[in-house]
């Protein structure tokens, strides 16, 4: 597919899709979303790029290679278990840290969230590998 409109649109659409992916990931704990949904959305962004240009270009333009994404995702999943163990709890026991922001706000960061980031990265990597490999052949 060689369409100028698609190419130009892809720039913005991808931005939107990526933002939506991050958004879905961040709010996942309280509202619909999460690592799986975010990962699939980000995967779709790569699909869009692939259709607008070629999948070869899509791959080359990726700053993080899918293999790296999978590896780091799985590592993060494993890392998220460590705080639980260090605190003498069971494996994967959720540990939360509160970072106060100003007067009334605070950000809660917990191991489940880190876990979700790992899932997110892995799902992106897997989706991209699926797409690229299937299309390359």
């Amino acid at each position: 597919m060689n369409s100028v409109i698609l190419k130009i649109a892809s720039r913005y659409v991808r931005l939107i899709l990526f933002s939506a992916a991050i958004f879905a990931l961040l709010r996942g704990h309280n509202l619909p979303g999460g690592g799986f949904i975010g990962g699939l959305l980000a995967g779709l962004a790569v699909v869009y790029k692939g259709f607008a240009y070629t999948f070869r270009e899509a791959r080359q333009s990726m700053r993080l290679k899918p293999e790296f994404l999978i590896a780091s995702g799985l590592s993060i999943v494993l890392l998220s278990m460590i705080p639980g163990i260090l605190n003498g709890k069971n494996l994967m026991h959720g540990i939360w840290y509160k970072i106060p922001l100003g007067e009334a706000m605070e950000i809660k960061i917990g191991t489940p969230f880190i876990f979700d980031i790992g899932v997110f990265l892995t799902v992106i990597g897997v989706t991209v590998i699926f797409l690229l490999v299937l299309n390359r052949e």
Binding site: H29, P32, L40, L44, I70, G94, V119, L131, V133, L134
Partner: protein
């Protein structure tokens, strides 16, 4: 004892640590450790000769009442000394013999491990433990026979021996379990204590038969004898160690162990004697017509094993005593003969008896050793063999009832032994020399060291039998508790037994004379043998095996036909039938909800999905069927959305989109749908599919009726916000409550990605 066993085990494995560069002393190093073990047991001889029994016990599986128990008594010490003593000599011999071959680490590992296993077998005081060692020796025998694994015959022979001995081992285990059940224990001393109860029990005969099957297979008794000649494919050190002196005696050992438990009943006497006598005769008869030197020795070994089994079957004090003496006799002369045979093979390059001959000049020392060993085999003075044979005759003469038959057969079998001895002695050293591949010489001290020592022992014990008298006496007390005093003597004076001996020698010599003087006659005899006894055990065995394999193959081909679709068909037909039956069986429930089409947009959605699914089934275009499939997926996601599953709906939409994209990507590279199935097939498949769909619908309806009082979900709902700080319970379940599952899932995804990657990124040849 356990320490010595452990030492042997460690040494066996540390064989792999000894570097290959040390191959020149490998056998000698191992022989030293065998010597250590031998000295250990030799020192214990004084204790056992005093009539004491040394026992050791270690915790093993206390839950099952099993302990590692070792017992050193009169019987086991004889075997232990044989195993380690002959072990020393065999390892020295193997050092010289194995030099030209590769894989010495492996070979010596197996051989040394065998000595460990055999020693463990004879020291076991617990039948389960004995069985484990018993099987271990079978396995090691397999690996040693197949040492020249590039030869097909060696592999086939190894398989035969493993198959037969392992089969026997299993039946032995069954027998042990049966008898152990009666005695309530697996310890041999407990068995001896409850011997009367065991003999009276109705499981006595089945137990005995099963155990005897193990004994007969291991000790190469008729009709299982044929694996032993095949085992001659092994390197000669193995033949002289496993297949003459030790492993094949394991059955005899077990008979001695069990004689106080199960012996002295008509079943024991008749079955064992009958098998023993048959084996003895057959072994002797076939030994004479063999052309392979090791083949001759193998058949005489079979014959000797037959004698041993027969003597234990007769089960009188005298016969058991003769068995113990003959055990020593045979171990001494047969190990010697095997080693000498290997030496001759090495030096002349052949084992073919039609070619070998006239070696007296080239190998004088060998001749002396061989002649002495043959004297022992023929049962002539002054060797220990003479004493053994005299005792055997005496035992037979004293036997009531069937004695006369056994005596006649025994004399005949012994005559064969004499004939074989005379024939071998003459042919090897004085007969006409054929074309030998090599010019023989007599270099190599290590080759002759073992034979010389053994033959010397045989001679010394023959001349001064008093040395071993006490040892035999103690062993006899173990086997037959109330022993009678019979002293071993070389000269018994003129009596019936001596007359029999003379008679035997006469017949044997006459036979040998014919064989030597009329080689043509021997050839004819051999042919006669093969025509009269056209039934070859080896062939029958392989026919049986290949028949069984063929039978299995045919049935497997029928059941596992390899047609992928019929597997699926079978699965779904069976599943739906069973589910229908289950539904029918638990009928009687009523539908809780009413049929309603409200809200109507969901009804329309469902209708569209159904239409799309049906369309997919019958569409002839690939693209449209894929799009219809997509419609179903999106329809599902809307249904999820409507029924309060927001995350689910989003995921479904995204996944469906990705699937569609990938389908479209791959589609352009694939062929169009071909019309492959006939109308009848389609109808059949439709019926199956409808049946399955119907059962699932009913199941779903029934499932709706089941009242859950969601206890797990309640926990999640209650704790999601308070403990896990998350409002979206579904997400909290995924990343917190059930995070381990999610981790597994991500891993599965990664593996799938790897699989796709490997499948499509690697090139392979077109078929």
């Amino acid at each position: 004892m356990a320490a010595i066993l452990l030492l042997l085990l460690i040494i066996a494995f540390s064989n792999f640590i000894i570097p290959r560069g040390a191959n020149r002393f490998r056998g000698i190093i191992l022989a030293v450790f065998q010597l250590v073990a031998f000295v250990f047991f030799y020192q214990k001889l004084a204790v056992t000769n005093a009539g004491e029994v040394i026992t050791e016990s270690y915790r093993w599986i206390p839950e099952l009442g099993l302990n590692l128990q070792f017992q050193l008594d009169g019987v086991s010490i004889i075997f232990a000394l044989l195993v380690t003593g002959i072990g020393v000599l065999v390892f020295l011999y193997a050092q010289a013999y194995m030099k030209p071959y590769g894989h010495l680490q492996r070979f010596f590992f197996f051989l040394f491990l065998f000595s460990f296993a055999m020693l463990g077998l004879v020291l076991s005081a617990n039948m389960i433990q004995l069985f484990i060692f018993w099987e271990l020796t079978s396995f090691l025998s397999f690996f040693l026979i197949t040492y020249f694994n590039e030869k097909e015959e060696a592999r086939a022979a190894a398989f035969r021996s493993l198959f037969i001995t392992a089969f026997g081992g299993l039946s032995l285990l069954a027998g042990i379990l049966l008898i152990g059940n009666i005695a309530g224990s697996y310890v041999i001393s407990d068995w001896v204590a409850s011997a009367a109860a065991i003999k009276a029990h109705s499981h006595y005969l089945p137990g005995l038969l099963l155990i005897l099957l193990g004994v007969f297979t291991k000790s190469a008794q008729f009709p299982f004898h044929f694996w032993l000649p095949g085992a001659m494919q092994a390197p000669t050190p193995v033949s002289s160690y496993l297949h003459s002196a030790t492993m094949v005696k394991a059955g005899v050992f077990l008979l001695m162990r069990l004689s106080p438990v199960m012996g002295n009943t008509p079943e024991w006497n008749y079955i064992i004697s009958l098998v023993g006598v048959t084996t003895m005769l057959i072994g002797g008869y076939f030994a004479l017509t063999q052309r392979d030197l090791k083949g001759v020795l193998a058949y005489t070994t079979i014959s000797a094993l037959g004698i041993l089994v027969l003597m234990l079957g007769i089960d009188t004090k005298l016969s058991v005593k003769s068995a113990i003496v003959f055990l020593l006799v045979h171990a001494f002369y047969k190990a010697t003969l095997f080693m000498v045979a290997g030496f001759i093979d090495k030096k002349t390059g052949t084992r073919d008896l039609t070619k070998l001959g006239g070696l007296a000049r080239q190998m004088p020392v060998t001749m002396v050793i061989t002649m002495l060993a043959l004297l022992s085999m023929a049962g002539l003075p002054p060797m220990l063999g003479f004493i053994g044979k005299e005792l055997i005759y005496e035992a037979k003469v004293q036997l009531p009832g069937i004695a006369s038959i056994i005596l006649v057969v025994g004399v005949l079998a012994n005559a064969f032994m004499v004939a074989v001895s005379v024939f071998l002695g003459y042919k090897l050293f004085f007969g006409k020399q054929g074309d030998l591949p090599k010019k023989p010489d007599e270099k190599g001290v290590l080759y002759l060291l073992g034979p010389a020592v053994l033959v010397l022992l045989s001679l010394i014990y023959g001349l001064f039998p008093g040395i071993i008298n006490r040892m035999v006496e103690v062993a006899l007390q173990v086997v037959v508790p109330k022993a009678l005093d019979i002293h071993l003597k070389l000269w018994h004076g003129f009596n019936q037994v001596l007359l029999l001996s003379v008679f035997t020698v006469l017949i044997g010599s006459a036979l040998a004379f014919f064989v030597i003087k009329k080689p043509k006659l021997l050839g004819k005899w051999s042919n006669l043998n093969s025509s009269v006894f056209s039934f070859s055990f080896t062939k029958a065995f392989s026919n049986m095996i290949s028949g069984f394999v063929g039978f299995s193959e045919r049935n497997t081909a029928r059941i596992q036909h390899g047609s992928h679709r019929y597997y699926i068909l079978t699965i779904f037909v069976v599943t739906s039938l069973m589910l229908w039956y289950q539904l029918y069986d638990t009928r009687g429930w009523t539908l809780a909800t009413n049929i309603t089409l409200q809200p109507f947009y969901i009804s329309i959605l469902v209708a569209i999905s159904i239409a799309a699914a049906v369309f997919t089934m019958f569409s002839k275009s690939r693209l449209s069927s894929i799009i219809a499939m997509g419609v179903v997926g999106y329809g599902l996601s809307l249904i999820f959305l409507y029924y309060s599953a927001v995350d689910l709906a989003i995921t479904q939409i995204l996944a469906e989109t990705l699937i569609l994209v990938m389908f479209v990507l791959i589609l352009q590279k694939l062929p169009v749908f071909a019309k492959l199935s006939s109308r009848a097939t389609k109808i059949r498949d439709m019926i199956i599919a409808l049946s399955f769909g119907g059962v699932m619908t009913t199941l779903a309806l029934k499932a709706i009726n089941v009242e859950f009082n969601h206890p797990i979900s309640d926990f999640f709902l209650e704790n999601s916000y308070t403990k896990a700080y998350g409002e979206n319970v579904v997400n909290v379940i995924l990343v917190d409550f059930r995070a381990l599952d999610t981790m597994g899932e991500v891993t599965v995804l990664t593996i799938a990605a790897l699989g796709v990657f490997v499948l499509l990124k690697t090139r392979s040849k077109k078929i």
